[in-house]
Amino acid sequence: MPVTVKTFTSTYDAAAALSSDRGARYLGGGTLVMRALNEGDISISTIVRASDHAMTRIDASGSRITLGAGVTFARILAERELGFLHAPARSIGGPAVRNMGTVGGNLFAPVPYGDFTVAMLALDAVVSLQGGLGGREIPLDEFLQTRDRQTGALVLAISFAKPGSADAFRYRKIARIKPKGGAVITLAAHLPVNGGRIVGARVALGSMAPTPIRARAAERALEGRSLDPSTINAAATAAVEGTAPSDNALASAWYRREIVGVHLRRLLSGQE
């Protein structure tokens, strides 16, 4: 049976179509769903699209930033207000993938993909969902833990507070291949400083578990301290705590555990 394509103007209708049909998948940039179709995934029988402009809106005017789920990485790179997100956006794919791939789709991308979501996690982002029964907002952390059960819902947008200063947010993707490679690990840190002390430290890691996770032990090592070498070392040592990396084609779990602290130290101390 050929695939049916359903395009809706309202996100409500799109969400209803998604939740009522187990074979329905929402088409974002195409990098996940079209690939699955090309590779013979016959579990997909319906493609759902939504043409609501809200899905592609960027609101970066205030202190809280909202990115529509359909915003592409290329658009983030074109947005000067979002300069702090240029590094994570540029780390996704090559230019073509960045013109196609979306912020919303990235939330569902399995390891070794999904690097932008690591950045979002470090920013304490909140996901806006349209379900069959209505809209809701849930913290990204919680969303990721229940991701496999979210396929029936439509992600509308993701929002987060803008970092207070340019160097409060740091991001690094460790890849074997340059400039475009799958992640061995991905690191993002948001370290707001108040009176010389870090307040509300967030460290997020990709490829250290089945979904991006927070490095809570490293966050505790940073919280309330100044970002000096001893603090950085303490955070680096704690980075591996609570992680559950797997072996995959890019690296082993052992290797990921060995280097996560090294790279967190380098990220926090500004080393190459």
């Binding site: 993909y113 291949i177 400039p179 490679g181 799958g182 995959n248 084609a249 082993s252 052992w254």
Partner: protein, 340 residues
């Protein structure tokens, strides 16, 4: 100091062609009525330049400009048999077959020209620009076009030729392995410089210097393509590639170009190449074949450079950051060797 540089070398040779079934290839060369030649082959151009190099061999042998030759391949109805494009055999085996066919066609062409100029064919030579003239008397000349017209419409001659090249098969002695595996060998030596991060095991290529001896370089630009691309593939084999990352355990095999690792355009390093040409006695114009051996010295040169940089030997390919890091940890840290 977490990053260490080191240099390593390797030198290799490589046999040209196969010792299987005589490893034959055939070629047919024929002229149309205006003196333009077609080479009919069944050989494959995989990108290595089969069509281009055989075109030059044919033009040189015929004594006509390369623009007057077109190579048509591969059609099983029109192209004669060829073993295939592998084993560094294309330039050597197919080149020899084309040369033989072109030589036969040239013989007819010169006979036809001799008849038109009313001289002995042995006294004629080609100028490589589409003319045939009496040796020492360039004004007594006829164009290959006019020769072809005369051959076709007046003399009833076919300006064409057949060629085959075959190296009779050599039996292998089951006890001693005595055999003639190849008739000529290419050679290479390569110096690799790397930088190793002793905290992560990552290896970056800094530069390569190499010398490749491949018989006659029939077309230096094609040779350069092979050597530059082949050395890149050597780096890739040394540091990145495997469809079985946990060999021999058949798990986590890559399924796409993100999981199958090959160096990207941001991973390449300068590569300075010298080409040496010691003609092979049985090669077409002395050519051997650069296609395969270009990658081979890179793998061990990189491994040896890593030892020079941090003092660990990785004897297990590919040399992943994990293997380097495990080895460095096992010996209690990097041990840079004397800088070369």
């Amino acid at each position: 100091m977490t990053r260490h540089r080191g240099r390593g070398i390797a030198s290799v040779n490589y046999p040209i062609g196969m010792n299987l079934g005589g490893d034959p290839s055939q070629a047919l060369v024929h002229s149309n009525p205006s003196g333009k030649f077609t080479v009919a082959l069944s050989s494959i151009d995989l990108g290595q330049g089969m069509k281009s190099v055989t075109r030059q061999i044919c033009a040189e042998t015929l004594g006509v400009p390369v623009e007057d030759v077109y190579v048509d391949t591969a059609d099983s109805d029109t192209g004669p048999h060829c073993m295939g494009s592998f084993a560094s055999r294309g330039t050597h085996r197919v080149g020899n077959a084309v040369m033989a066919a072109a030589r036969e066609a040239r013989g007819v062409m010169m006979e036809a020209a001799a008849e038109e100029l009313e001289v002995n064919a042995a006294d004629l030579e080609t100028d490589g620009r589409g003319n045939i003239h009496v040796r020492g008397a360039p004004h007594r000349s006829i164009s290959t076009k006019d020769v072809a017209i005369a051959a076709q419409f007046k003399q009833g001659k076919t300006i064409s030729g057949r060629g085959i090249f075959l190296v009779p098969l050599s039996d292998v002695d089951p006890e001693t392995g005595e055999m003639s595996p190849a008739t000529c060998y290419a050679h290479a030596c390569l110096v690799a410089e790397v930088e190793v991060d002793d905290e992560t095991g990552e290896v970056a290529m800094i530069r390569m210097d190499s010398a490749y001896e491949l018989g006659r370089a029939l077309n230096p630009r094609l040779v350069e393509q092979q050597l530059v691309g082949g050395a890149w593939m050597g780096v890739s084999h040394a540091l990145y590639e495997t469809p079985e990352p946990y060999y021999p355990e058949p798990v986590h095999g890559p399924r796409d170009f993100v999981e199958y690792l090959m160096p990207g355009p941001g991973d390449i390093c300068p590569h300075d190449i010298a080409v040496l040409e010691r003609p092979a006695p049985d090669g077409p114009f002395g050519a051997k074949g650069p296609g395969e051996m270009c990658a081979n010295p890179v793998l061990p040169a990189v491994a040896n450079a890593i030892f020079n940089a941090v003092g660990v030997r990785i004897d297990d390919l590919p040399i992943t950051p994990e293997k380097v890091l495990r080895a460095i940890k096992a010996q209690g840290g990097a041990r840079p060797q004397p800088r070369r």
